[in-house]
Amino acid sequence: MANQLKTGFLFAMFMLQSCTYTLDFSGFFFPDDLVDARFVQSNDWNQSHPFKTINVSSENYQLLVAADSHLGGTKNLDKLIKEAIKPENTALILVGDNVTGHKEDYDTLKTHLPDFNLKPWFLAVGNHDLYFEGWKTFYPYFGTSTYYFSIQTPTQKDLYIVLDSGSGTLGAKQLAWLQNVLVTQRTAYRNCVVFSHVNFFRNRHTGSTNPLVDELYVLMDLFAKNRINMVISGHDHVRSINEFGNTTYITMDALLDGFSRAGYLKLKTTPLKMEYEFNEVKALN
């Protein structure tokens, strides 16, 4: 009996220690950052760092998209980066929960990402990226968490918008920014894709938190009226697809090391259409 109690106690301590390394319980009560404050900082960054345009020489191009790598472990991320730097891929997008929030994991991410000039990459912020004062590392390392980039083919231009949904809401300021971008710029682009770490819909019973229903109303309406092609998310770790009018809402499998279906998305654009394809990391060398 004493041995069982001792084993149980040690197991509980191990689990607690594991959880307290990866989960920041202070965020239940007093998070050290708020989405409106992050947006103000991001907007400041955007003023001095113009939004990027990537020029491609063909009408066909391909992006790789993944989410929820939760570094520490870099096994799957390294495989993905090795794939991403191949010439057929134009850029890599990591849609949040890229790290645990600890500075050492941000250091690991920074050293493993390719040279931006060799292969452009773009990051979104997820809730785990914000744990343990993670924003204080994200911002000086990577800058803005709300921005857009575009891809210019010989004849067309596509718009990619990256949102900060790490707090489970966009906040009033970021929402106003998004509405302004879509109203003033959407018509200048052929396709438009939105990246948001937090997924919108609950296809299954899950503990992960989505934006409140009132916010979903506004976003669904905005995306329908502006003919957004895709909204790509992570967060839930399990893939799902919701076709809704002209918009496809995609939640990706996690890239996390040890996850049985760890995967990424190929986003292929041709003159006629934009397509997605789920891929498992274990198929990569």
Partner: protein, 239 residues
């Protein structure tokens, strides 16, 4: 459809059938991340009791700077009051329709089981939710029969836990944690906190007030304020 239902309800010889009829009206003001300043809500509901059954229906009018339809919700619910193991319980089935933009609607159907005592109230239930384009939007966007125009969220848990503190024969305070309200059902991971006060003006009339706090990102462990509201209402038993 809503107009027909309202006509039927209003033209029905209610006094002859129902033993008790109540009117419930409230006004609400608040602000949240999507309301673009303060919003104002006005609701009217009517409920009637027949033996152990109670039917309730009503709507919500919503005014804000954001581009919302003014008539923003309609609800119909049927309650049955019964006892199980000498515990008084109420089972409720409901239908909630929300035209939340000029193109999009939401429909919820669900059921709740509730228990109330002097100091404690509890409701548990399930709902299923549909978001969908209305017929005008389907034509406007030129969707074909192969286009998916709805999203179904199969199961969502609904809950309310309340503590009541009577401070006089006429007055009680109330504190609740819940994920739903008269005309809103949040995901089970988005609870809200409500504080309230109920004042029994006389045998026929109850005045109530609520202060609500909504937060985002709770189970993401990144809590941010989403919004607050203040509500004042009256329940009047008219027979």
């Amino acid at each position: 459809m809503t107009g027909t239902l309202l006509f039927l309800i209003l033209s029905f010889p209610a006094n002859t059938l129902f033993s008790q009829i109540w009117l419930n009206g409230y006004t609400e003001t608040g602000t949240n991340n999507v309301s673009e300043g303060f919003y104002e809500g006005v609701s009217g509901q009517v409920s009637a009791k027949f033996h152990n059954f109670k039917v309730q229906t009503g709507g919500l009018f919503y005014f804000s700077n954001a581009n919302n339809p003014v008539f923003s919700a309609y609800k119909l619910q049927l309650e049955n009051i019964f006892s199980a193991f000498k515990i008084p319980l109420t089972i409720t089935a409901f239908y909630l329709w929300k035209p939340f933009s000029d193109d999009l609607n939401e429909t919820n159907v669900g059921a709740l089981l509730s228990y109330e005592s002097k100091h404690f109230g509890c409701e548990l239930g399930l709902n299923t939710r549909f978001y969908y384009f209305n017929q005008q939007a389907i034509l406007k966007y030129g969707f074909t029969s192969s286009t998916s125009t709805s999203i179904w969220e199969p199961v969502n848990a609904m809950y309310r836990v309340s503590y009541y503190l009577p401070v006089s024969p006429k007055t009680e305070f109330e504190a609740s944690i819940t994920n739903f309200d008269f005309f809103q059902i949040e995901q089970e991971t988005n609870p809200q906190i409500r504080l309230g006060c109920n004042y029994k003006l006389n045998e026929k009339m109850l005045l109530y007030g609520n202060l609500g706090y909504l937060e985002a990102g709770l189970l993401n462990m990144r809590v941010n304020t989403f919004g607050v509201f203040l509500r004042a209402g009256v329940v009047w038993q008219i027979n």
